[in-house]
């Protein structure tokens, strides 16, 4: 079973995402801040990290950069309400980002995207 870490400072969103993903047959590891995410990664690993961007303290960008610096194999996808341009999105994908998922999401879309990421 693939393991997905969901990082968001909003517990309701973490729970919702977890529910949806578990319905899709994934195991979910929650984290409620950027710092917690990095701390957990020191002990455990995951196949995919779904990362919120705007969080108090360490932002999603910071977390993404840290993980990339460690040359980690873990895939990272942003989940955000912020709209970004195709150009910016492409830059991020080139830097190693797995996907950019818009919130609010619907169940089907989220599962489809996660499936896709983990298939590759």
């Amino acid at each position: 079973m693939k393991k997905i870490m969901v990082v968001d400072n909003e517990p309701d969103i973490v729970d919702l995402t977890r529910t949806v993903l578990e319905l899709g047959g994934y195991s979910v590891m929650p984290a409620y801040s950027g710092e917690e995410c990095l701390r957990k990664l020191e002990k455990e690993t995951a196949d995919l990290i779904l990362l919120d961007i705007m969080m108090p303290g360490m932002s999603g960008w910071d977390v993404f950069n840290r993980i990339k610096k460690k040359n980690s194999e873990i895939k990272v996808a942003f989940m955000s309400v912020l709209e970004i341009s195709d150009k910016r999105k492409q830059v991020l994908l080139d830097e190693g980002l797995a996907d950019y998922i818009m919130k609010p999401f619907d169940k089907e879309t989220l599962l489809k995207k996660v499936d896709n990421i983990l298939k590759n």
Partner: protein
């Protein structure tokens, strides 16, 4: 002239035999012939007259040839020769020797035929004198020794002996060379008269004693527009209007004999009156009887016209001169005033009478008198027509000094000597006073500089400070005494020195002010202060002596600029946070409602409630997005990612989005997009948003029929149309629908909820693309929205 009238024949006859009592002088003066012809003619005639004088001694009798013969006969010696029967000269008188230039030896027994040219001898022989016995006055030529043939008149008489036998002959020989020459010349002269008469550019008429025209020249016909029949025997009176004839009569020409240059008018055949100059001369016969008159008529219409035009022009010029708004004087080459205009008098307060005839230098200020005179004399010699303006001070009658810029224009006579000098004067006294006052106010400027809030400095040619004001002292944090005479560039940051040097050289070279130069000066405390400088050249007597520079401390402005940038960043950040905070709660709401909706274990009633909640969560999300967009537009923080886009991609994205709604409402969707539409520069996400909005609206307000999406390239623009068969919008609403929060209430009940922001956002987005958007609609028929975008 054919068919000469009797009088002319008679005249000619009389002329020939020297009976006509006209003196040649008089005739000449009356013939107003063109000057060149006159010169030529008079020259030749002059010779003739001189010769005549030598020979005959009385010019008055020149044409009196009867008298001439007599005198010639009386005063001339006659050579007499006697020949024998063999025609050899046997005796002669003394004059014969002289005539033939031979002595006794040469003449004695000389065959007489050797005294003639061969052909002349034959002619004499042909006269057959021997038979006739006597022959008078044979005109022939004889030979003078060493000189050749000369003209003689010879009378021959045969001497017969007893029994009628010829024993010899007597020849009486008269030298007529001179006479012949005179005669020839006379003929030539007459010929010349005739030519003049015929060809002269004056009309000449000849009248008989009854004042009828009997002869005329060709020009007379031309001038009067009459032919031979019109002119011949025409009473000369009828050529003139009655009052003019009266005038001519009053001159009493008959008594005076002649009258020159009567200005009168003459009637042409077509009754046109022309101005002429008439000279009359009365012809008298030997006995003093008037036999006619000669009229010489000169057409002066043209001269008169020119004269009138000239007078008119002179009048105009005079008026101009008099009324010119600037002082004007005319001088003779020695500087004497010949005329001044009224403005001159008014300015210098003299009357014309007081100044005309006086030297202009009497009115020049004492200090300039000498130099004015010298320069004037020099100009007269230079012979230029204009020498440029210069300054001159004159003194008015009441002693006031007035300064003028004067311009001298020179007129020349035919020999290129200055004839007169025309001077225009521009009174600059007042201007000069203002200038002087301004110079005095330099003091004021110093005060201004001292109190200026901006830094002010001047430098010398090398860039060393020659003046600094208190503000500059403050900006630099250095006292005047310490920095004067040091280089200004020493107080500039390293990066500013080069720029300042460039500007300094530029200002010096182009002699032009340079503005808004951004430099950094170094405060005594070691930190840099941004300044903005305006730099102008300083000049003295026309040459560059340094720069003048004002500089303003712009640290405050820079700070504000920085803050503004910061604030823009902050606003964008705020908008992002707002978006995050507004959207974040919707995520779990929507998410859980969806989970309930799709949960098969859940009660149907609960699932139904969840779906109502879901629909409203969607609406809320829509509202949040619209409000965020409007806020971004208002705070100018909406980001546009402009790039060249393929439109089909945008269309497909929008269509995909609305397809479910079309199906739900059972509407027909028509797509008319031509292939090969050009790519345009746009933000595809935003443009797609506009299309979704327009299509969404159309679906919302259309219950039956179709929705059409069309595009075309036209007039270098891309046109996108969204058309529906919905309820339509009233014409006065079509404009208002694009305003913020405007809701089109078309139905009685408001079942179509919306934020009233969508079309406002559409309009703003299209505007950011330099495009236009508008709506056309008919209530009950449908609406058509058009987007026009530049390609």
């Amino acid at each position: 002239m054919k068919n000469e009238p009797d009088i002319v024949k008679k005249l000619r006859e009389e002329e020939k035999i020297g009976q006509l009592n006209i003196k040649s002088q008089c005739s000449y003066e009356q013939l107003k012939i063109p000057e060149e012809t006159l010169h030529e003619t008079s020259d030749k005639t002059g010779t003739f007259l001189e010769n005549g004088l030598e020979t005959e001694g009385d010019i008055g009798e020149l044409f009196d040839f009867g008298e001439l013969y007599k005198i010639l006969f009386e005063t001339s010696a006659v050579a007499i020769t006697l020949t024998d029967e063999n025609e050899r000269i046997v005796s002669w008188n003394k004059y014969a020797e002289e005539l033939f230039n031979m002595n006794e030896k040469e003449l004695y027994m000389r065959p007489v035929n050797t005294l003639y040219p061969v052909e002349e001898w034959q002619k004499i022989r042909a006269e057959n004198v021997r038979k006739k016995g006597i022959k008078y006055r044979i005109e022939t030529r004889m030979i003078r020794k060493n000189e050749g043939p000369f003209e003689v008149e010879i009378s021959l008489c045969v001497l017969k002996g007893s029994g009628g036998k010829n024993v010899g002959s007597i020849g009486i020989i008269k030298d007529i060379t001179k006479l012949k020459t005179s005669e020839r010349k006379f003929k030539e002269s007459e010929e010349r008269y005739k030519t003049i008469f015929e060809n002269s550019a004056v009309a000449i008429t000849l009248t008989d004693k009854n004042e009828r025209i009997v002869s005329w020249n060709k020009y007379a016909e031309d001038l009067l527009g009459m032919n031979k029949d019109d002119l011949y025997m025409k009473p000369v009176e009828s050529l003139y209007p009655p009052e003019e004839w009266k005038k001519i009569r009053s001159e009493n020409v008959r008594q005076k004999g002649m009258q020159q240059s009567i200005e009168t008018k003459i009637l042409k055949k077509n009754n046109e009156l022309i101005d002429v100059d008439l000279s009359l001369s009365v012809l008298k016969n030997h006995g003093g009887m008037v036999i006619g008159s000669i009229g010489v008529i000169n057409d002066i219409t043209y001269q008169k016209w020119i004269k009138d035009a000239l007078e008119e022009s002179e009048k105009k010029f005079k008026q101009l001169y008099e009324n010119a708004p600037i002082p004007y004087h005319t001088l003779s080459p020695n500087g004497e005033i010949t005329s001044v205009n009224e403005k001159w008098c008014k300015t210098l307060k003299y009357t014309k009478e007081e100044v005309i005839g006086k030297s202009i230098f009497d009115f020049v200020i004492k200090s300039e008198k000498k130099s004015a005179k010298t320069s004037f004399e020099k100009k007269i010699l230079e012979k230029k027509s204009y020498t440029g303006g210069h300054e001159r001070t004159y003194v008015t009658k009441d002693g006031e000094e007035r300064i003028f810029i004067i311009h001298d224009y020179f007129s020349f006579d035919n020999d290129k000597n200055v004839m007169s000098v025309h001077t225009t004067m521009e009174d600059i006294t007042q201007r000069r006073q203002v200038w002087d006052r301004m110079m005095k106010s330099e003091e004021k400027y110093r005060v201004l500089a001292e109190t200026s809030a901006d830094g002010v400095l001047t430098t010398d040619v090398l860039g060393r400070l020659t003046y600094v004001n208190p503000s500059l002292e403050k900006i630099l944090g250095r006292r005047k005494g310490k920095i004067l005479a040091t280089l200004f560039r020493d107080y500039l940051s390293e990066s500013s020195v080069y720029l300042f040097q460039q500007v300094f050289l530029d200002v010096r070279k182009k002699e032009k002010k340079m503005e808004n130069i951004g430099l950094d000066v170094i405060h005594d405390g070691g930190y840099e202060i941004p300044i903005e400088a305006n730099i102008s050249p300083l000049k003295k007597d026309g040459s560059f002596i340094g720069i003048e520079c004002t500089l303003r401390d712009i640290s405050e402005r820079k700070k504000i600029e920085r803050e503004l940038k910061q604030s823009e960043k902050l606003r964008t950040e705020f908008m992002n946070i707002a978006a995050h905070e507004l959207k974040s709660p919707v995520t779990p709401i929507k998410g859980y409602l969806e989970l309930i909706e799709s949960d098969k274990d859940a009660d149907e009633k609960i699932r139904n409630w969840a779906s109502i909640g879901m629909r409203n969560a969607e609406r809320l999300m829509h509202l949040i997005n619209d409000i965020l967009d409007v806020s971004r537009l208002d705070t100018d923080t909406m980001r546009f990612n402009m790039e060249k886009c393929d439109l089909t991609e945008i269309f497909d994205d929008a269509i995909e989005d609305i397809e479910p709604d079309i199906e739900n409402k059972n509407l027909i969707f028509i797509k008319k997009i031509p292939e090969n539409l050009p790519k345009i520069v746009c933000d595809k996400y935003r443009l797609s948003q506009v299309l979704k909005n327009l299509l969404g609206n159309s679906i919302k307000f259309t219950d039956y029929g179709s929705i059409t999406l069309m595009a075309e390239e036209k007039e270098k623009h891309l046109f996108i149309y969204v058309e529906d068969t919905g309820i339509g919008i009233s014409s006065d609403e079509t404009k208002r629908i694009f305003t913020k929060f405007y809701q089109a209430y078309t139905g009685e009940d408001r079942k179509n909820e919306g934020t009233g922001l969508g079309l406002f956002i559409c309009k703003e987005i299209v505007k950011k693309h330099n495009g236009e958007i508008w709506a056309e609609s008919k209530v009950g028929k449908g609406s058509k929205f058009t987007i026009k975008l530049p390609i």
